[in-house]
């Protein structure tokens, strides 16, 4: 693959001028209809681009976006504890860097993208605040968040080189991936009566932090539940299959907003006050169950696509039912439905914005709060919403890019 790419690249370069003319003639002016289309569309496109650029760089007032980047990032998370988010982010990004070095491929794209993203946030004209990390106070590490974001992208690259070392085993990195999310949650929520890590109530969590927590929490939790439900629905045991079917159909028959409301209020009515989970946990439960029902149906589709001969062959070589399912059927099923699953996860990511209605200030909610914080910002809501849309677009695009890479790696659609 790389060699053929290089070849075409050098070809194009050696004959650049005629190549362009050729390309233009072949694609834009191949016949009279295309020529007319091109001639009319070029000014129109140019005009639209001109308007967009003029708005972005001249007429738009980005002060509502740039004045409080931390609010967008973490909401009302106490500012003296902000280093906990920083450390969590740093370790996750470092891990991405290490995995990039070890495996390359898809992780390489993610690593490069993350590096550029953090570097971009570091150089964009946000009014970044100071960040102090108490662990390093000996060296008096008060740094601006701008510097810290740059540091993160540096860490991804350092991680990349560390990952290339033979000494770092794959198993170690995988263990790291299991441990880091748990440490992150502990680090963020803290403990009661602790000096270093005082507990931080989740009503203060907000912004992108909550969006990602809900999205990735939902994705990670809903996937195993979805697999279980899909297998349950195909089970021969009537109780299991009835439960799975009822659950899936009930959840799919109700809009997400309704499920969020139900979890927001009904849990409060049913459980004693001391046992009521926090708002964000209730929202996460709702998102997880909602997503699980859809994932289950996707997976069931995949299971049905696996030819029965596969299962029979597995049985013939003496595999148990469990082994057949987990080593023969599921891998093929999941491979077949990868695009559908990723689509489901992207929509889950975007659906997290609905938690605004149950009083959680996610990324969009914080945007609304900022717009309404002073009358002047009411004028700037277009800018704020454009910024929010761009951020959602970046991450949704990244997810679909990742899925395409994964499909290539697994050879989906090639046979």
């Amino acid at each position: 693959m790389p060699s053929s790419n290089q070849l075409t690249a050098t070809d194009a370069r050696s004959s650049q001028a005629p190549g362009i003319i050729k390309w233009v003639r072949a694609n834009l002016f191949s016949n009279w209809f295309n020529s007319i289309l091109t001639i009319t569309l070029i000014p129109a496109v140019a005009y639209i681009l001109f308007i967009v650029f003029r708005w972005v760089f001249i007429s738009a007032d980005w002060s509502a976006v740039t004045s409080q980047p931390l609010l967008f990032g973490v909401g009302q998370f106490p500012r003296d504890q902000i280093w906990r988010v920083g450390i969590s982010l740093l370790s996750i990004m470092f891990l991405i860097g290490v995995s990039w070095g070890k495996w390359g491929g898809l992780l390489r794209s993610i690593g490069i993208f993350a590096t550029l993203l953090f570097f971009g946030f570091a150089i964009l004209p946000f009014q970044h605040e100071d960040l102090s990390i108490p662990i390093f106070t000996i060296a008096s590490t008060v740094m601006t968040i701008r510097f810290f974001l740059g540091l993160i992208s540096l860490f991804i690259i350092i991680g990349n080189f560390i990952g290339r070392l033979e000494a770092v085993s794959k198993r170690l990195i995988i263990i790291g991936w299991f441990v880091t999310p748990i440490i992150t949650v502990i680090l963020l929520s803290g403990f009661d009566n602790s000096e270093l890590l005082p507990s931080i109530t989740t009503t203060l969590w907000g912004g992108l932090l909550v969006t990602f927590l809900l999205a990735f929490g939902g994705i990670i939790l809903s996937f195993p539940i979805g697999v279980a439900l899909a297998l349950g629905r195909r089970s021969k045991l009537p109780v299991v299959s009835a439960f799975s079917t009822i659950f899936i159909e009930m959840v799919r028959g109700v809009p997400l907003v309704t499920i969020l409301f139900m979890f927001s209020f009904i849990i409060n009515l049913v459980l004693p006050p001391s046992a009521i989970p926090e708002r964000i946990v209730r929202a996460l439960m709702a998102m997880t169950l909602f997503s699980a029902a859809y994932t289950a149906e996707n997976i069931r589709g995949g299971l049905q696509a696996v030819p029965p001969g596969q299962m029979e062959a597995a049985k013939a070589v003496g595999m148990s039912g469990f082994q057949t399912m987990f080593f023969i059927v599921l891998p093929q099923a999941l491979r077949a439905i990868l695009p559908a699953i990723v689509g489901q996860f992207i929509s889950l990511f975007k659906d997290t914005t609905l938690v605004v209605i149950v009083g959680i200030n996610d990324f969009l909610g914080i945007g609304r709060s900022i717009i309404n914080s002073t009358p002047e910002f009411l004028q700037l809501q277009l800018e704020v919403y454009v910024f929010i849309a761009i951020i959602y677009m970046i991450f949704s695009f990244l997810m679909s890019l990742a899925s395409r890479k994964l499909e290539d790696a697994l050879g989906v659609g090639e046979r």
Binding site: M250, V358, G359, N372, S373, Q381
Partner: protein
């Protein structure tokens, strides 16, 4: 066959649970709308399943959760306050801090009860969220510019005393040439959905035999940007909100707020049903804030005032005899703490809605009764 019956029964039981649980949350239209469609599918088997689930959920709601809110607050060490983060002046974000007129009451109550005005946790509630969060006692105190209505008082919780008198008004563009409500016939009106505002608007037009075209938005900010872009002739909301929004317009002078007020909007903090002592505590703190303004006790001079000769001031601050608020579980210096933390009513008003605040609203009806307003607290005796 038996499997089908089992499935049916299971579905019905689940529906019954959902319906029973939803029956209490009247304030929330979204869940109800979804649930309302479901009973149609329920045949005669309903009596079988319904009584099973009802006793389980119902008593818990009434007695269990709301009995001892003060104890709960003291044990937790923070006051959970239903507020908002998206209305400048009443509840908004200043950096990561919650600020606003409604938020300051939470701070006052926290200072009185816990001795620390910062021991508050603000749960940002949406309009639809307010009622249920009070009914389920998820919040200890709801201070999120809620209009006190008779039905909400019955269904949601105990409403304390009016903290802010508001009324619904209209804003029109100068260019439209409208100068009074008589000229409203056939106008397009921008309005927020799901609020009393929308109801009042419809009532007003029906009563006066006029027609209008509503342009409805979920979000407050969207209403005003649509109005400013000229999509509507008129926008309507509480006058306080109109006033604050007009200040933010590119050219405030092009818009007029008409003098007509079509509704009463007493914005009133509320507490969950079922704990009278807690209800009294919140009221006592509010009385103290109002009486403090009347008696000239401020955040700055509250320390000196402890040694004042004025018997009323001494009673207010709890240095002269016990008039009973300590029986509620408050310390004798609780009210002095509250005033020291946020100041008196007038200071709270000025900080958030006064001339130097983010938005400025003339005090109008919210002057003390002695200055011609409606703010009035019972005497400290």
């Amino acid at each position: 066959m038996s499997r089908k019956i089992f499935t049916l029964l299971a579905v019905l039981t689940l529906f019954a649970v959902v319906i029973v649980a939803c029956g209490d949350s009247n304030g929330d239209t979204e869940t109800e709308a979804a649930v309302d469609t479901e009973p149609e599918t329920e045949p005669e088997t309903e009596p079988e399943t319904e009584p099973e689930t009802e006793p389980e959920t119902e008593p818990e709601v009434v007695t269990g959760s709301h009995a001892d809110i003060l104890g709960r607050v003291l044990e937790r060490g923070t006051l959970i306050c239903g507020g908002r983060t998206d209305l400048a002046g009443f509840g908004s974000l200043d950096g990561e801090r919650n600020v606003g007129f409604d938020i300051d009451l939470c701070r006052a109550v926290a200072a009185a009860v816990l001795g620390d005005a910062d021991a508050i946790e603000i749960v940002p509630l949406t309009a639809a969220d307010r009622g249920p969060s009070l009914q389920t006692a998820e919040v200890d105190l709801l201070s999120r510019n809620v209009t006190w209505t008779a039905s909400r008082d019955v269904q949601w919780g105990n409403f304390t005393i009016v903290m802010f008198y508001d009324g619904q008004g209209f804003m029109v563009t100068k260019a439209s040439g409208i100068t009074s409500t008589d000229q409203f016939d056939g106008a397009t009106v921008c309005v927020t959905s799901g609020t009393t505002t929308e109801q009042n608007l419809a009532d007003f037009f029906r009563q006066n035999g006029m027609t209008f075209e509503a342009v409805v938005f979920e979000e407050t900010a969207a209403v005003y940007s649509a109005y400013e872009e000229g999509r509507c002739d008129i926008t309507t909301s509480d006058r306080s909100q109109l006033e604050s929004v007009r200040n933010g317009f590119a050219s405030p002078d092009d818009h007029i707020i008409l003098d007509d007020i079509i509704s009463k909007e007493p914005l009133t903090p509320a507490v969950p049903h079922g704990d009278d002592a807690w209800f009294d505590i919140v009221k006592v703190v509010m009385f103290a804030l109002i009486n403090a303004e009347e008696l000239g006790v401020t955040q700055a001079n509250v320390e000196e005032m402890l040694a004042s000769d004025n018997i009323n001031i001494r009673r207010l601050l709890g240095v002269e005899g016990d008039w009973g608020f300590t029986d509620l579980g408050l310390d004798s210096d609780a009210l002095a703490n509250a005033i020291a933390a946020v100041g008196n009513y007038g200071e709270i008003y000025d900080r958030n809605l006064g001339p130097n605040a983010v938005i400025t609203l003339p005090r109008g009806l919210n002057e003390l009764w002695s200055n011609g307003g409606l703010i009035y607290a019972p005497p400290v005796k």
